[in-house]
């Protein structure tokens, strides 16, 4: 069953309206170490694990865009911790099929014998809701006080969980489990207001349970939509909402109309204070805002290059850095000479997002064509 192609549709036509980031943050409050262990419910996952339903489309070479998987799995939150402005969430679901991406290659990661759950970490700035992709956490597992190994999860994109770090892991047995999640200082360019937020620190989560119980969390079928172009909506639970990028029209700077390539949506704008964004030098900053076509998820670990021309003359050409800012969210940018209305910006996607993909995303964000914008 191959997904049927649909002619190019405007971004967002298939996305359910998510709960706003600021609603989440309001709910989170400011108390330190707000542990929400045991917070249940909500929907997650997207067609991994123990799918009872029909075969899903076989992974292609990309270029087909995202498609709706057969079902979504329930998830369980282990906890949410806050340290200063940084918020880390740990949750799990049934072991999931996913695809590692290297360059434009995808490889399906097999679910190993003994895997008991898909463990997921999300890290964000609790004040702005911004997620820095380059924090690559390490999780050390302890059972009844005894170290039982460590995991360094992959950055991943899931239709219902968005950007997270995840892996299938094999801890087993009822016990008092502790998960020490060490979040690294973020790679990439950080706005000055975020420089002290995405620093290295460790969050500890504790839970009495049997990891095997992940198999009992259940799932919900996607019904007739399975295989169609489009996506599942972001999951929503009482205490946790999936981090999303600001909508293009909600950015603090003016940007061009967004354009699409293989379900990557991109728009371009300029910022007049490159130093505040964390760039060295320059009279302006070129900002290429990117997000998934549906659900407004961030697209980290991508390689972009931009060329700016004015009246046929090249004004700027160079690689863009992965960057985060409280207002812009995650974007790609560079310090540039002053830019003017009418400048033409060609954006080349040299390397597609090197994040692993849950089912339904392994066909998207891979065959990326250059896009040209006019400021």
């Amino acid at each position: 069953m191959q997904p049927t192609r649909r002619s190019s549709a405007p971004a967002g036509d298939d996305a359910e309206r998510p709960v706003g980031r600021r609603e989440l943050l309001a709910g989170l409050g400011t108390a330190a170490a707000a542990s929400l262990a045991g917070c249940t419910g909500g929907l997650s996952g997207d067609g991994g694990g123990a799918s009872p339903t029909a075969a899903r489309p076989s992974p292609g070479e990309g270029g087909d865009g995202a498609y709706v998987p057969t079902h979504r799995d329930m998830m369980q939150m282990i906890g949410m911790q806050r340290d200063g402005r940084l918020v880390a969430t740990l949750s799990y679901t049934v072991p999931h099929q996913f695809f590692l991406v290297t360059g434009t290659r995808t490889n399906q990661a097999t679910i190993a014998d003994g895997d008991t759950m898909h463990l997921m970490v999300q890290v964000m700035d609790g004040e702005t809701g911004v997620v820095a992709p380059g924090v690559e956490p390490t999780i050390e597992l302890t059972k009844d006080g005894e170290a039982v190994g460590a995991n360094q999860p992959w950055p991943m994109l899931s239709q219902s969980m968005g950007f997270h770090f995840g892996d299938n892991v094999a801890p087993s047995g009822e016990g008092a489990w502790r998960f020490d999640v060490t979040v690294n200082a973020a790679n990439g360019v950080l706005s000055t207001d975020l420089a002290d937020v995405f620093t290295k620190r460790t969050f500890s989560f504790e839970r009495e349970f049997a990891p095997e119980d992940a198999a009992e969390l259940g799932f919900m079928g996607a019904g007739g939509r399975a295989g169609d172009p489009g996506v599942l909506a972001p999951m929503s639970m009482e205490m946790m909402t999936v981090p999303q990028q600001p909508a293009f029209d909600a950015l603090p700077i003016e940007v061009t109309d967004p354009q699409l390539t293989d379900d990557v949506a991109a728009a371009v704008g300029t910022h007049d204070d490159p130093a505040a964004l964390g760039f060295d030098g320059g009279e302006a900053a070129l900002v290429v805002a990117t997000q998934t076509r549906y659900n407004r998820y961030q697209l980290g670990f991508m390689g972009l290059r931009a060329t700016v021309t004015r009246g046929g003359e090249e004004v700027f050409a160079g690689d863009l850095s992965s960057a985060v800012d409280g207002g812009l969210g995650h974007y790609y940018g560079a310090a540039t000479p002053a830019l003017e209305a009418g400048d033409e910006v060609e954006v080349e996607f040299v390397t597609p997002p090197q994040v692993a993909r849950h089912v339904g995303y392994e066909t998207a964000f891979l065959q990326l064509e250059p896009l040209t914008f006019t400021l």
């Binding site: 590692l100 991406v101 290297t102 360059g103 434009t104 290659r105 490889n107 990661a109 097999t110 190993a112 380059g134 690559e136 390490t138 190994g149 460590a150 995991n151 360094q152 992959w154 950055p155 892996d167 094999a170 060490t182 690294n184 200082a185 790679n187 990439g188 290295k200 670990f301 991508m302 390689g303 690689d319 850095s321 992965s322 040299v350 390397t351 597609p352 997002p353 090197q354």
Partner: protein, 412 residues
């Protein structure tokens, strides 16, 4: 041969000797002048493959030691020297006999007014932003190596246990007469390297997928390493001035290996790209464990790491190491080996180099932080093999030349 070395001790040894009836191990010499100046001069006494790559001894033991006294006494020095001469008499200085080094840490030299003369021996430190290793505080480390697991355990028992003879010679002095030596991890570490051993020992640990490690691989990650062109020469790593001239420095780290993603989530293309270079994967340069590469890893055919990262979204481990060369020669000599210490797959990354700074430079090249800053690769993601490693311990040691190996003063 279930983990004779890993179990260790008199029990493992007697079980082993009972089974084999005692094999013939070549004996050593009593004339020190016939042995090399440097304790680390092993290469001429190890075996080589058909490409003249030196093959490390197949079995290894590390014993971390503490010296309870303040400044060492001459009597203790004599005991240590006598103990080590016992080993040299009993076993040939070769992979068929027993090779060994005795190294001293910055903690050891703190008992003197100054550090070792002419040698910069810094305390160990984390070498990447994302690692939090335990930093060794032991005074000394004994490294024993042999192709013969029985001889290795016997030598260890002679030095730090209660074995009365070594390869038929009476043991007249032991290191344990002078040093305190615990016999469990982390004070005792063991390991192996060489074709067949990783696949064999993988069966003993739960965290390596069944049948994942190639039968002929010398290391858990499935590829050959230690290509002649990728190893510093012994002369390059030898200290050439001062009282410790003829010696070298040693870095010993313990790494957890996470082989499940390596073998069940990556494919062969990704493994070759991440270990060597993405163009090696594209061009199919690596067959199986890479023995076809000969005496070098064909890095002349790899792209500049930045270009590889931009073009392929991945940079190879070997590819990054090129930047750590000086005069187009590596600056460290790897003598690392795999382990199942603690019941999980790991690697004891042991290397010798003229200065610890040479090791730091090499490890920083492996981090690829400058590449990660400018390309889609992460601090670990698609950044060589960093995703699969976790450094849990680091220690720095001075391996004095043989003449100063027994509890040296800071300026002997």
């Amino acid at each position: 041969m279930k983990a004779v070395v890993a179990v260790g001790g008199a029990t493992a040894l007697s079980a082993c000797l009972d089974r084999t009836g005692g094999s013939t191990v070549p004996t050593g010499v009593s004339d020190l002048s016939s042995l090399p100046t440097g304790q680390h001069h092993w290469n001429a006494h190890l075996s080589r493959d058909e490409h003249e790559n030196v093959e490390n001894a197949r079995h290894h033991v590390l014993r971390f030691l503490d010296y309870p006294g303040d400044e060492p006494s001459d009597a203790d020095r004599e005991t240590v020297e006598a103990a080590l001469r016992t080993l040299e008499r009993a076993y040939a200085w070769s992979n068929e006999g027993v090779l060994f080094t005795l190294g001293y840490s910055p903690a050891y030299f703190r008992r003197f007014d100054e550090g070792p003369a002419g040698v910069d021996l810094p305390p160990p430190a984390p070498l990447a932003d994302f690692e939090d290793p335990e930093l060794e505080r032991y005074d000394a480390v004994l490294h024993l190596a042999s192709d013969n697991a029985d001889a290795l355990v016997e030598a260890e028992e002679a030095m730090l246990g209660d074995r009365a003879d070594a390869n038929g010679d009476a043991v007249e002095a032991r290191l344990s007469d002078v040093f305190e030596a615990e016999d469990t991890y982390p004070a005792r570490r063991t390991g192996f390297v060489g074709g067949g051993l990783p696949a064999q020992f993988a069966k003993e640990v739960a965290d390596v997928p069944d049948d994942a490690v190639p039968e002929d691989s010398p290391l858990f990650m499935g590829f050959k390493s230690g290509f002649r062109a990728n190893q510093a020469s012994e002369s390059r790593v030898t200290i050439d001035e001062g009282p410790f001239a003829g010696g070298t420095t040693q870095h010993v780290s313990a790494l957890d290996l996470n082989l499940k993603p390596w073998y069940t989530q990556d494919d062969e293309w990704q493994r070759v790209a991440k270990m060597f270079a993405p163009t090696h994967a594209e061009e199919g340069l690596v067959e199986g464990i890479g023995a076809n590469l000969g005496a070098d890893s064909a890095m002349d055919r790899a792209l500049d790491p930045l270009e590889a990262a931009r073009t392929f979204g991945v940079v190879g481990h070997s590819q990054k190491m090129l930047s750590a060369r000086r005069d187009d020669e590596p600056v460290i000599l790897r003598r690392d080996f795999d382990t199942t210490d603690g019941g999980d797959a790991g690697l004891h990354f042991l290397a010798v180099q003229e200065t610890i700074e040479d090791f730091v430079t090499t490890r920083r090249a492996m981090n690829g932080a400058d590449i990660a800053a400018d390309t889609p690769i992460g601090q670990r993601l698609n950044n060589g093999i960093l995703q699969y490693l976790r450094t849990t311990r680091r220690g720095n040691f001075l391996l004095p030349p043989r003449r100063h190996r027994a509890l040296p003063a800071a300026d002997p």
